[in-house]
């Protein structure tokens, strides 16, 4: 699975993107986040620290309970501040 990170999520993790083999029991975005928090301090800081995180599946906004089956890219980022 391709994981991509933006803004302070990217900075806390120290990566813009990475390819990860996800355990097959991970079914939703929320599951992926729970698993990522166990991948070391930077991930715990990004996903367990202060601030709201949003997610997208294959470049489409998705809720935490969205299923990741068949997805190629998951993105994590703070609420948007464009415009």
């Amino acid at each position: 699975m391709k994981l991509v990170y933006f803004a302070w999520v990217r900075e806390r993790i120290g990566l813009a993107e990475e390819e990860r083999e996800l355990p097959p029991e991970l079914a939703t975005i929320a599951d992926v986040i729970t698993w990522l928090r166990q991948q070391g301090e930077p991930y715990e800081h990004a996903f367990g620290g202060a601030g709201t995180i949003r997610a997208a599946l294959d470049k489409t906004h998705a809720k935490p309970n969205a299923a990741i089956a068949g997805v190629r890219e998951i993105a994590f980022f703070p609420p948007m501040t464009g415009g």
């Binding site: 933006f6 990217r10 729970t34 709201t52 995180i53 470049k59 948007m80 464009g82 415009g83």
Partner: protein, 173 residues
Amino acid sequence: MPVSEIPVSDLPVSDLPAPCAIDIRIIEGDFDPAAETAALCAGRTDIGALVTFTGLCRDEQGALAALELEHYPGMAEAEIARVAEAATHRWPLLGVRIIHRYGKLMPGERIVLVMTASSHRANAFAAADFIMDFLKNRAPFWKKEHKPDGTAKDWVDAKEIDEHALKRWDQAT
């Protein structure tokens, strides 16, 4: 868990049958509003109202040296297109052009352009206003502020007022 339970507001939909030309660009360099107007209106005499919104890099009393805009390539275009299409289904528009810049921007520089054309002004005003509200909430851009002293660099927080602004569009037009 800090993940937002409602990632973004759903776009309101409606049934207007006639979508119009939509032009969307995500670019690093500057744009020329006059050229966009000319392109949108070229050879047409059916447009009665043109609303142009320009968002500028604003310096709050010398507190900002520059803005850095990060974006999610691909998704930025797609999300803005969704917002623009929702607008064309809601109001009878004759043209929509949207440009959003990324990269480093200095105070006074243009950031975003939203241009809507219609026969009548109410539709053009409402559509541009709507597009900006949803663009701010849904388009994957993030602003980082560079301070004049060169030290602090802070990500701009999303404003609650921007989410509240969306509720205006829940009622029927």
